[in-house]
Symmetry: C2
Subunit: 342 residues, 2 copies
DNA sequence: TTACGTTATGGAAGCGCTTACATTCATATT
DNA sequence: AATATGAATGTAAGCGCTTCCATAACGTAA
């Protein structure tokens, strides 16, 4: 018996008394194989411990069975959830994932995309891409399959999955207003990202709906990171007329807000209500548990993958933007404002 | 001009007036090419936008230029840091990373390893493997290159990089003792992991060194997750004679501890000191900033990758276990115990 | 029985590259 | 001048597979 690493379809063919062509057919689930022959081949494969060589399959077959994933970072629960969804779908189809981390570097991003699209992978999943405009046109022209995750796309009907950011922010703000809050601070994310813009717009729309005047000093511009939450909350609480609630554009910043609030000896939610966005796992685990807008991150990963597989199967298929619903998760970090509650 | 995706070395050879063999030599930095010829080929490659087909290279050359990475999860800062280090080293060598998430499922782990080791990748990086014993022997026998990250290995001298967990826990405990703490609670991690065991041992050794009797009820068994920290701290604080300091086996649990402490209206560090382990980015951002034992995670990723590349280059090279130093980072979550300070 | 459509199987060609070996050519050596 | 030496380049043989086309085997209707 040869070394396990070196069993080829020829060995299997010999062992099962058929030609290598038939073995290939069995591997690829071709219909034109007599069931008993198939079984014989399958047995031989198992006996010999045969595993098809991916490189050879790719070279001969013209596809790699690899999906490229571009993410800004890998250390966040946000990305982790999305990948969980991608993993699940891909696993079902026997595809593998090759991951690139851009660390928010635009040049790296464009570079990776260029190389990956040249035969390294069959399709591309782009999470929160920074400058997709730079290469989306090229990809589209070449007909290279890709799907954007949590990005608006570039105006045209380019395949993308996102969440109802506007709606989520609107609902959360409305909830705070209905609790009785009139001064609601808002901390934005990276304002060059569509999702961050939409959340801000949702917040503003809700204020407008309830005839609450917009105070520009109640909006603090952040970048989705925890220190921004801390700094933003500190700035807001320093205002002559501070807010009674703070809505952060993601949970990580909301954690920073909570720290800042506590640091001043204020209590959550008694003195200040705090709301986040994302519903990362940690949000339910902090004290008090964070009221937040849930993004269906894992589902976004799943749906994006399904879209990509769809395009892979039928390149003509027109796939536009899909928006998955967000949901307000009410937990312990929100309450009516003090002056009213008391 | 052909489509960019279809330029082969033959096209480059024609365009530059040499044989495809010479082009191949240029690609592989073979010495036997006249500098001016090389330049001519390089120019042609740039002009044509040539990118070598990885599949064909792999098939012909017998290596994939792909490194497999097995991680339990992708959503933690812990893993993110390690991957950052891996990425950096791999990028330097033009290797790509193919990632598998096991979600702590032992069967998946063994499965992935089996498949990957059969030609899918050139080498394997295993982060915090759950049941390496199941397959390490196989890998070793076959001479398949791999490196364990943050795992003790399996007794033999198997390639692994870790941190000085014992030392880190010892130092942190000693620091608490020197602050004046006599009752120090400890929350463990997954006790089937060597690193968790070592941290517990380090804690115990420090107590012994300073002749502080070990109280079994001061040790709470956790699993590295935030709710364990919360539950552990709650249990410890419910003790008739509660500790004045709590040492959690990782930062995530320490966050849980902080929540639990605050939830009871106690103040950190005034009433209770809290210490973590890992020094994830978040630790510096919470309030009060967490005193913790830094693990050089990124460096662990780097070193592991270097080890693997070393083995890849020279399979005979005996690579044993490397332990990178941990360091106590003192921040605001620790202080002398109340009864002493006051 | 013959002819014909199916279905199952065999085999050649080729995917784009590396590599060992063959060949060429220039230069050094005697 | 004749030859050895070594550097630069060309070429054939695969790597392990898919896929197309040819062929064999098997029914089935006439």
């Amino acid at each position: 018996m040869k070394s396990a690493a070196k069993i080829t379809i020829l060995d299997v063919a010999n062992a099962s008394g058929v030609s290598f062509g038939t073995v290939s057919r069995v591997i690829n689930n071709d219909i034109h194989v007599k069931p008993e022959t198939r079984q014989r081949v399958l047995d031989a494969m198992r006996r010999l411990g045969f595993v098809a060589n991916r490189q050879a399959q790719s070279l001969a077959g013209g596809k790699t069975n690899l999906i490229g994933l571009l993410v800004p970072d890998l250390g966040t629960g946000y990305i982790g959830e999305i990948i969980r969804g991608i993993d699940a779908e891909l696993g079902l189809m026997g595809l593998d994932l090759i991951t690139y981390t851009t660390h928010r570097t635009a040049s790296k991003e464009a570079n990776y995309v260029a190389n990956l699209a040249r035969g390294m992978v069959d399709g591309l999943l782009l999470v929160l891409p920074r400058h997709p405009a730079d290469y989306i046109e090229t990809l589209t022209q070449r007909g290279f399959p890709f799907v954007l995750i949590d990005h608006q796309g570039t105006g045209e009907n380019c395949p993308a999955v996102g969440a109802t950011n506007w709606q989520g922010a609107y609902t959360a703000t409305e909830y705070l207003i209905k609790l009785g809050h009139q001064r609601i601070g808002f901390i934005t994310g990276w304002m060059d990202l569509g999702c961050a813009q939409d959340r801000l717009k949702g917040y503003r729309s809700a204020l407008r709906t309830y005839h609450i005047p917009e105070a520009p000093d109640l909006v603090y511009e952040g970048t989705f990171s925890q220190p921004d939450g801390y700094a933003g909350a500190s700035a807001l609480l320093d205002l002559p007329n501070p807010p009674t609630a703070i809505f952060a554009s993601n949970d990580v910043m909301a954690m920073g807000v909570m720290d800042a609030v506590r640091n001043r000896g204020l209590r959550i939610p008694d003195d200040i209500s705090v709301v986040g966005f994302d519903n990362i796992a940690q949000s339910a685990m902090v004290y008090p548990p964070l009221t937040t807008v849930q993004q269906p991150l894992e589902q976004m990963g799943r749906v994006a993958t399904q879209m990509l597989l769809g395009i892979l199967k039928d390149p003509e298929k027109e796939a536009g933007r899909i928006e998955l619903p967000t949901e307000l998760i009410v937990r312990g970090s929100t309450a009516p404002p003090k002056d009213r509650a008391g």
